[in-house]
Symmetry: C2
Subunit: 268 residues, 2 copies
Amino acid sequence: MPVEKITSLQNPRVKQLVKLRDRRPRDEAGVFLVEGYRQIRRALEKNIALTELYFSPDWFLGENELALIAQAEAAGAQTFELAKDAFAKVAYRERPDGLLAVAPQWRRTLNDVPSGPAPFLLVVEAIEKPGNLGTILRSADAAGCDAVIVCDPVTDVFNPNVVRASTGVLFSVPVIIADSEAVHAWLRARGIRAVATTPAATALYSDTDLRGPLAIVMGSEQYGLSEFWLQQADATVRIPMAGQADSLNVAMATIITLFEAVRQRAGR
Amino acid sequence: MPVEKITSLQNPRVKQLVKLRDRRPRDEAGVFLVEGYRQIRRALEKNIALTELYFSPDWFLGENELALIAQAEAAGAQTFELAKDAFAKVAYRERPDGLLAVAPQWRRTLNDVPSGPAPFLLVVEAIEKPGNLGTILRSADAAGCDAVIVCDPVTDVFNPNVVRASTGVLFSVPVIIADSEAVHAWLRARGIRAVATTPAATALYSDTDLRGPLAIVMGSEQYGLSEFWLQQADATVRIPMAGQADSLNVAMATIITLFEAVRQRAGR
């Protein structure tokens, strides 16, 4: 168990944890934050090598925290105890539970996409809202996608709110960051069809063949898909809309399209 | 245009607006809050009879606010100008835009469900999170449901965060509040099949006939469907899950099931 207890709000580690909420310091340090019992447990289950674990018993909600801390230590994490108000300063969740970890960022490339006879990929372009990106990762996990490719990210996947909204899926589904042109060339070279979803398409998503090697391509909240993907996609499809134009957001459109692909690919 | 300008944070109207964030005062007064330009515009478009409209030009973000205020006045709303800090006190959104309205609650019953040869209904039981209920209303709108029936509500539909998350759909999709037993008896009397979604079901949702008179029944976030619905439903179905058990939340499961029904009902 740890020896050091941090009480000062001016402690350099406390200051650094606060900075890591922002993208630039996060990228410079090559790490990201994982807050909360459930998220940290999932990171450990997926063998994410946590480098540091900060804990504050005053905030604990359950009884298993000490076992989790021991597990993180056994896996190589440095541990630090924080006084109550020091933890309040570093926590970014509304209801902290006294556990905050630092994990190394990873840099997967297109070469890390698992290979197989019929890849099932999700490509998302320039998603803006962390909550949407997290929900999209969960959807890809539930649908059994082999990987999620994030093109030209506006919100980076290591944003604390993406980590939280993904409910740990970020630690299990392969997430690759790349630019759109490289992704398109890579898909084409491997014979993977790019099917792009846009309200302007003529064909319905459910009338389109979504079996075989497939990448479903989704655009950003505000601008939809870029001209590049609209022109380069092998097919464009739309989801029928009965109500007001903005009832479906990008996360909802993604899950509808992914599960239609699941249905078709199950061969029913 | 209005004559009264409210500057005091102790003004009774200011205090009452703050109280209306909570369910009991809201139900006692029989009203609810609608905040923000877009929401208020949609309420007016759907002929919701706003009783009061509070505005504060210091917070305006655009140029069309005065036209909207005039429109609300023409439709019968009393209008009040608020000083900047008085508006900050009554606003519940993170980024207020200087517009907050009060609307009368409505009490629709099962008799208000639009009739037709093949009703397409969504029944949700005891949803807890306002964001989920709002997203579910949007999904029902996008899928063209004839009505949403909210059974035994935990979060009431007039919660400000439901109003916001529904992006105005609350003003257009008929939303009925009733208890589960009454809903079940009503469905049975009209020959409407109740198809309940639960991870414990054997049949896949996509292998089940979702055409004809249909009510899709969804349970709460934490407890799923009650024993009542699990036993009384005409069929139970599940969504196949490839990833971790909690990747699909109730809002995501709802939209998947609704759009499979849309696909089948289009006769393709």
